[in-house]
C-alpha cells in the first residue's frame, strides 16, 4: 500500500520560500499530475517526495509512514528524470541492472526483473547499446525501465516527455498510461503541459508560485475551476476573459454588463455569493462555448483577425473592442480575416470571477 500524503509541506532555499504549505492526499494506485507554470515548485515538490531535497516544514508520508528523515533509497520510490539521467558509460542492460547489482541482489532475480522491464517497454533489442546510440524516445524508455526494475511503490516522473517531439510525446503518453494500468502503482507526474495533465491524470494538482490552487479530476477542473488561474491554465486554447461589471442583483442572479462590448448584458444565476452592484468582475468563456448568434443569452459582435484551421475545428482570433477573443468554430464554418460576425454567450456556459480572480458561484 503506498498512498502519499503531504501535510503542510514547506520548502525554503535559504530565506526564499518556494513551497508554502502544500496539502496533497494521493491514494494508493492513483495517477496524480502536478501541473503549473515554470518555476511554480513542481520539481521541488517531487524531489522532496523522492528525498533528493530536504523538507523545511511539514510532513511527507508514503504508505502511512512519515518519510521526512528517511534516505531517498529507502522510500520505495523510483524517479524518471527529465534529462533521463542514464549512466552514459553503461549499456542499456547495465543501466537497468546497476542499482540491483550494486546492492548484491541475487543474479537470477536481477535478470528476471531486467527482462520483465525490457518486455514491458519493448526494449529487448536495445539491451547491448549505450545511451548515446539511442533515440530520445528509446532513452526515455530505458529511464522508465530503470524505474520499473526497482519495483517501487511509487513512480515519480519529472517532465519525462518534454525533450521529445510532438508525435513521440503522444505515443509515450499512451505508453505511460498503459504502464500505469499494468503495474497499478501510485504515479506522480510533473508537467507544465496541461494536455498531458488532462489526458494522463486521475487527479490534477494545479500549482502556482508555490501554492496549491486546486486539486481535482481533469474534467472537474475544466468544468468547475476554483479560480481564474485554474480556469485559464486548464483547457486549450485558453479560456477567454471578458471585462464586466455588476449592474444589478436580484432573484438569485446577477445582471452583468460586458464593459467592452457596447453594454451587452447577461443574466447570470448565482447560488452562493452576490457581489455588490458596481463591482468589477470578469466573465470567463471557453472558445468552444461561443454559440451562434441568437442561440445564447447575450450576443456580441466581433471581427475576425486570424483563423487557424485544424481540420476538425477552426480557431478564430477575433477582435472585439480592446479584447481579443478566441472562438472555436467547426471547420466548415471557415472565416477569413476581416469578417464581421456575431457570437453568443450562454449564462450556464460561462464562469464569473471577482477582480482578485476568485470564482463567484
Amino acid at each position: 500500500m503506498a498512498a502519499v500524503t503531504l501535510t503542510n509541506v514547506i520548502k525554503r532555499f535559504g530565506v526564499f520560500e518556494v513551497v508554502h504549505g502544500a496539502n496533497i492526499d494521493i491514494a494508493d494506485g492513483e495517477f496524480v499530475v502536478f501541473v503549473g507554470p515554470s518555476g511554480c515548485g513542481k520539481s521541488t515538490l517531487l524531489r522532496m517526495i523522492a528525498g533528493l531535497e530536504d523538507i523545511s516544514g511539514g510532513d511527507i508520508a508514503i504508505g502511512g509512514k512519515v518519510m521526512n528523515d528517511v534516505e531517498a533509497a529507502d522510500r520505495g520510490i523510483a524517479m524518471v528524470f527529465q534529462s533521463y539521467a542514464l549512466y552514459p558509460h553503461m549499456t542499456v542492460e547495465q543501466n537497468l541492472s546497476f542499482g540491483l547489482r550494486m546492492n548484491g541482489n541475487p543474479k537470477a532475480d536481477t535478470e528476471r526483473r531486467v527482462k520483465r522491464a525490457a518486455e514491458i517497454l519493448r526494449i529487448d533489442e536495445l539491451m547491448q547499446r549505450r545511451p548515446k546510440q539511442l533515440s530520445g524516445g528509446q532513452r526515455q524508455r530505458v529511464a522508465i525501465g530503470r524505474a520499473i526494475v526497482r519495483e517501487p511503490q511509487v513512480f515519480l516522473f519529472d517532465e519525462p516527455l518534454s525533450n521529445l517531439d510532438a508525435e513521440l510525446r503522444v505515443q509515450m503518453r499512451v505508453e505511460i498510461s498503459r504502464l500505469h494500468k499494468e503495474l497499478g502503482v501510485t504515479m506522480i507526474y510533473v508537467t507544465h503541459d496541461q494536455t498531458e495533465a488532462m489526458t494522463l491524470a486521475d487527479r490534477i494538482v494545479v500549482l502556482k508560485a508555490g501554492n496549491v490552487e486546486q486539486i481535482g479530476a481533469p474534467l472537474d477542473l475544466y468544468d468547475d475551476p476554483a479560480n481564474r488561474f485554474v480556469a485559464g491554465f486548464i483547457g486549450s486554447p485558453k479560456m477567454n476573459f471578458l471585462g464586466a461589471k455588476i449592474v444589478d442583483t436580484s432573484n438569485s442572479a446577477a445582471i452583468i454588463e460586458l464593459v467592452n462590448h457596447g453594454g451587452a448584458r447577461l443574466r447570470k444565476p448565482l447560488r452562493e455569493a452576490f457581489p455588490a452592484i458596481g463591482a468589477e468582475v470578469v466573465l470567463g468563456v471557453r472558445p468552444e462555448h461561443f454559440f451562434e448568434a441568437g442561440q445564447g443569452d447575450c450576443d456580441i459582435p466581433v471581427k475576425a483577425d486570424v483563423a487557424e484551421h485544424l481540420g476538425s475545428v477552426s480557431y478564430v482570433y477575433a477582435n472585439a473592442g480592446p479584447e481579443e477573443l478566441i472562438v472555436e468554430r467547426e471547420a466548415s464554418r471557415q472565416r477569413a480575416s476581416g469578417d464581421h460576425f456575431t457570437v453568443s454567450i450562454k449564462a450556464e456556459r460561462s464562469l464569473l470571477f471577482d477582480k482578485a480572480g476568485a470564482r463567484i458561484r
Binding site: 523522492a50 528525498g51 533528493l52 531517498a72 533509497a73 529507502d74 520510490i77 523510483a78 524517479m79 528524470f81 534529462s83 539521467a85 542514464l86 549512466y87 552514459p88 558509460h89 546497476f98 542499482g99 550494486m102 546492492n103 530503470r146 526497482r150
Partner: protein, 286 residues
Amino acid sequence: MRTQNATAYRFLTPYLLIFAIFWIWPIISSFIISFQATRTVPWRFAPAFNWGRLIGDPAFYNALKNTLLILVIQVPVMIALAIVMAVLLNSPLLKARGLYRFAFFAPVVVGEVAYSAVFRLMFSLDFGIVNKLLNSVGIPKIDWFSNVTPAMALIMIAVTWRWAGYNAIIILAGLQSIPEDVYEAATLDRVSKLKQFFHITLPLLKPVIVFCAVLSIIGTMQLFTEPFLITERGGPGGGTETLGLLLYRQGFRSLNFGYASAVAYTMAGLAIAITLVQLWLMREPK
C-alpha cells in the same frame, strides 16, 4: 572559395614561414644530424657513429632507466593525487573554493629557478624544514642530495608538487561536466558515494585522465629542470640523470650535436610509443 583560401594563406604566410624555419627545419635538421659524425670537421655522414654508440652507451641506459623509473612511479601517483584533489575541490562542502583552485594551480606559475632553490632549502640536510619535521616524529635525517634513492624520491616529489594541481584543475573541469542528476539517480538506486565514485565518476573521467596521463608522460620524458637544478645536474654521480639531461650534456657541454640529436629522437620515439600503448590500453570498448 578558392580565392578566399588563397587570401587566408597569404595572411598566414608570416606565421607559416616562422613555423617552417624554427620548427619544421630543426626537426628535419636534427634528424639528419643524428646520422652525422659531428666531432669531426667537416661533419660527415656516418649512421653507426651516434646510433651505434647509443645502443652500447651505459650513460644512455642509466638515463633511460632513471627517466622510466620516474615515469612509472611519479605519473600514476600524481594522477591519483590530482583526482583526489579535484574531487575535494568539487565538493559542495568546500569553502573558499576559488582560493584553493588558485593555490593548486600556483606552482605552475612559479619560476623554475625559484622553486628549485626553495626545494633545495627545504630538503637541505641540516637546515631543511623537511628533515626537521622528520626528526620531530622520530625519523632520522635523510641526506636527500647524496644518496640515489632519496634523490630520486626528491625529484618525484618536486615534479608531483609542481604538476598535480595543474592536472587537478583539468580533471575538475571533467568532473563538472558530469551531470548532477546521474548521481541523484544512483542515490535513488541505493549506490553509496564510494561506489558512485568508482562506478560512475572514474569511468566518466577516463578520457580526461588519459589526456592528463599523456601530457604527463610527454612532460616526464623530457624531464630536465628538476634534476638539473635541484639535484645539481643529475647528482649524485648521475643517479638522477635523465634523458633530457643527457641530451643537454652531450649537445651543449660536449658540443656533440649528432649524439644529442640521436638522444632527442629516442626520447620523442619513446614518448610516442608509450602514449600509443596507453591510448590502446584505455580505448573505448566497442
